[in-house]
Amino acid sequence: MAGGPQGSGVDTAAVIFSRACGYGGLHIYGKREYHSNIKGLHSYFHIRVSSREVLANSSSVDLLAAFDSETVVRHFHEVSPRGGLIVDERETQKNIFEIPTLPKEFKDDLKIKIEKLKLGETISDLLKYIEGRGGKVFIVPYMGLLRGIADKLGIDNLLRVMPTLNVLSIGISFSILRYDKGLVERAVRTTFSDRPRIAEMNLLALREAFDYAEKAFPEGLGTSLRVLRPSEERILIQGHQAIALGKIFGGCRVQTYYPITPAGDESWFLEAHEVFKIKGGEGSMLVLQAEDELAAINMANGAALAGARAATSTSGPGFSLMVEGLGWAGNSEVPVVITYYQRGGPSTGLPTRHGQDDLRFSVHAGHGEFARIVLASGDIRECFYDAAMAFNYAERYQVPVIHLVDKALADSYKTYEIFEAEGYRIQRGKILDEVKPGEEYKRFKIGDNAISPRVFLGTLGGVHWYTGDEHNEFGHITEHPRMRDSMVEKRMRKLELIDREIPLEEKINFYGERGAENIVVSWGSPKGAILEALKALNREGHSLGFLQVRMIHPLPWKEIREILRDRDKVIDVEMNYSGQLGGIIREKTGIPMSFFILKYNGRPMTSTEVQEALIEILKGRAPERRVLTYGS
């Protein structure tokens, strides 16, 4: 873990660190945390490295690199007994209650905590605590190192080399982990590939750090990171990047957005990748910054009618403004895709923090009744494939598709075996390229099933109309009761069609033992922590299965009922207060959840806390609701 004030390079450090590990054939899982602020408030990244795949973070930290004293204060208790802390020598004498960026409520808690631990009020008291538990503390004279770099570069102003602080701390970290310096250098080079001068400066810093640490800390951390040579090709990728790539791959050609955290990252990534290679040439995506989310959804609807695969991307506050446009899409059978990045709500809530509070809202948003699909990915790989698949669903069924992800997916990093096409095919559903002379075209023709062939705006002979009002087969307004009934039924019966046609493996995943006594039910980002906990517990002899629901709406309730029926315990795990998926399952299957493991403090679940909560339930010691609280 590395932490420091926002703007001090924590992000870049995370990237370099993860890349360097990736280059060494290691698996990583990482997650950024930051305040809703541009510069100065606390941010940190938390990375797990392993020779085997890692799916989530745990609750303890083996090596903490603190760029400032606040990081020490916030995380010292997480450093594991055999872990280490790297800290700037200037920080050690600071009084912890004089850190201006610590909010009052944090200080209140802190006071209680240090009283309980019987600690003093300076950073060095906290360092002693770490050491007392068996951890190691590495005190680094960062200023001295910076001065050395400045001197070597012939720079007077220390401020100009300050940005290398993060690379210095990476260097120290990798050095005491005994890692291959060459790989770290490569990571630095790639990261700054478009700014060669900066790259050079940072490479120098890296070398200085390695040199210094080898001398100053000859015994290192104690544990070391060994380089591996896996046989597979690997990528290191974040959730929002995977979604963006899934969109390009899946044929999305118009993306509208209005800036918002954390959805914005995806659109900015797309802007940077708006022109891409296709077989025999070049493809492109139009990425449009709208004036607000009302415009964003409705522009996307318009683009979809014109025949482009079109999407918009947002978070809760933006989605709340898209509700009216979503309803129009539902009524006019527009194949539009909305990528919905949940964050902590309600209202602006916790803009940069995590939550899964918007499930019910995505299912029920919009007045009136209309068919939609709500698809929730549980890991970064699923983000990629679901992003592409969403367009197939949207066009085949002519419905809006909400691709529901969350902040923990959006900006966590993970190493994966490279993504392959995996048989993905673009399926555009029923589309007529032209309407033959003499033929009458009806956009909303009521036929055998709920899907009428589409023509794009501009097609010869296919003139038709759209309206948000109830309409007849041509798309003209009607208030005729029988036509009304037919159109309501046409729209709503799509849900049955979707339920029937989409294969089960695209709708749910089941892990663990099929016949397990106890089933964990969840969706979205807790998946990783659950899988890790499950593995550990089943190894210990417990009997657990895990049902991950991806298609939330229409819910594959028959299959879910089969899976959940007659189990000993059904344990709902979600990042919200009310166990929303649990509610939906009970509504559709009648099966109540026996236990809830919930979390809503804005920080993702760790495998440690999920595992602990599950153990308590399995041991029969748990209350019906258990709220997890790890995180800073």
Partner: protein, 320 residues
């Protein structure tokens, strides 16, 4: 509906009130489309919600009757996805300058090649005559319980300051002039606003056909009405910016003209300034934009395999 009829008429019953100015606008629009030699499938009419919003159903062309105030996002989304389409937006004054005012301003900033007909009747017609944003302070139409306590927005001035590159005003009952304006608006490369003075005989008894026509102030000698409406072009007003240097001066002149009201009400073109369109600016980013706009890109081969080169996309993420 049926295959390419030569005319832009549909057989949908037109349910506007007798005497409504919308009839004149509809006719002028249909006339303009015909005279421009466009075919129904090339045209997309995008409308908001209101009496005016029903227009597309009465025109034999692609019709997208959208949400209250959201016609411009739809129009822009459609046009940018397929810039070959002739996109015309049609909506009310409440729609465009009340609930949709944010999009109105924003559309000016973009300068997409869309023509926007704003039906200005001073009221919210379809919801029974509440004051619209263009109704003047202190006025009380027959549909209002009390006088209006809001100031009016001036559609022409609003378009001018937000960047529309063609700004004009027409009158619903001057068919030939309006038809001509619409043709010019469609012909203009960039975002055009045509405000149309539209009498609503059912709710607005202030700015009526008779009032515009000056029937309340007949010439005492001839007994003939003295119309309030006059044509800018007849007074030699030159709206066109031919050189960037004169843009500011012409803009300010147009603004000044836009505030004329009461005894003399100008119609015609207030301002015209061809500049790069949004589409052209996009094309600087996406070189193949005009040949292969979003709606016309091939996505896959015949078997559905995406054309995108996944490997090259993933290259930058490779760590091993």
């Amino acid at each position: 509906m049926a295959h390419e009829s030569s005319s832009f008429r549909t057989d949908v019953f037109i349910d506007w009130c007798p005497g409504c100015g919308n009839f004149g606008i509809l006719m002028a629009l249909q006339g303009a489309l015909e005279e421009l030699g466009l075919e129904p499938h090339q045209v997309v009419l995008v409308s908001g919600i209101g009496c005016s919003g029903k227009t597309p159903h009465f025109v034999n062309a692609y019709g997208v009757h959208t949400l209250h105030g959201r016609l411009l996002p739809y129009a822009i989304g459609i046009k940018l996805a397929n810039p070959d389409l002739e996109v015309i937006a049609v909506g009310g004054d409440g729609d465009g300058l009340g609930i949709g005012a944010g999009h109105f301003l924003s559309a000016g900033r973009r300068n997409v090649d869309v023509t926007y007909l704003l039906h200005n009747n001073g009221v919210y017609g379809l919801t029974k005559g509440q004051a619209s944003p263009t109704l003047r302070l202190g006025v009380r139409t027959k549909s209002l319980a009390r006088v209006n306590i809001n100031n009016a927005l001036n559609p022409v001035a609003t378009a001018l300051i937000s960047g529309y590159t063609f700004v004009a005003r027409g009158y619903a009952f001057d068919f030939r002039h309006l038809k001509d304006l619409i043709k010019r608006g469609i012909g203009h490369r960039g975002m055009s606003l045509i405000e149309i003075l539209q009498p609503c005989p059912t709710y607005n008894d202030i700015t009526t056909k008779e009032w515009y026509g000056g029937e309340d102030r007949r010439d005492p000698e001839t007994g003939r009405p003295r119309p309030r409406i006059y044509k800018l072009e007849e007074e030699g007003f030159d709206p066109e910016v031919r050189d960037p240097d004169e843009a500011m001066e012409k803009l300010l002149r147009a603004l000044s003209k836009s505030y004329e009201w009461g005894d003399r009400i100008p119609i015609g073109v207030f301002y015209k300034n061809e500049q790069s369109t949004y589409e052209e600016r996009i094309a600087e980013r996406l070189p193949s934009y005009f040949e292969r706009p979003p709606a016309r890109q091939r996505l896959s081969d015949e078997t559905g395999v995406p054309l995108v080169d996944l490997r090259s996309l993933l290259e930058e993420f490779r760590v091993f």
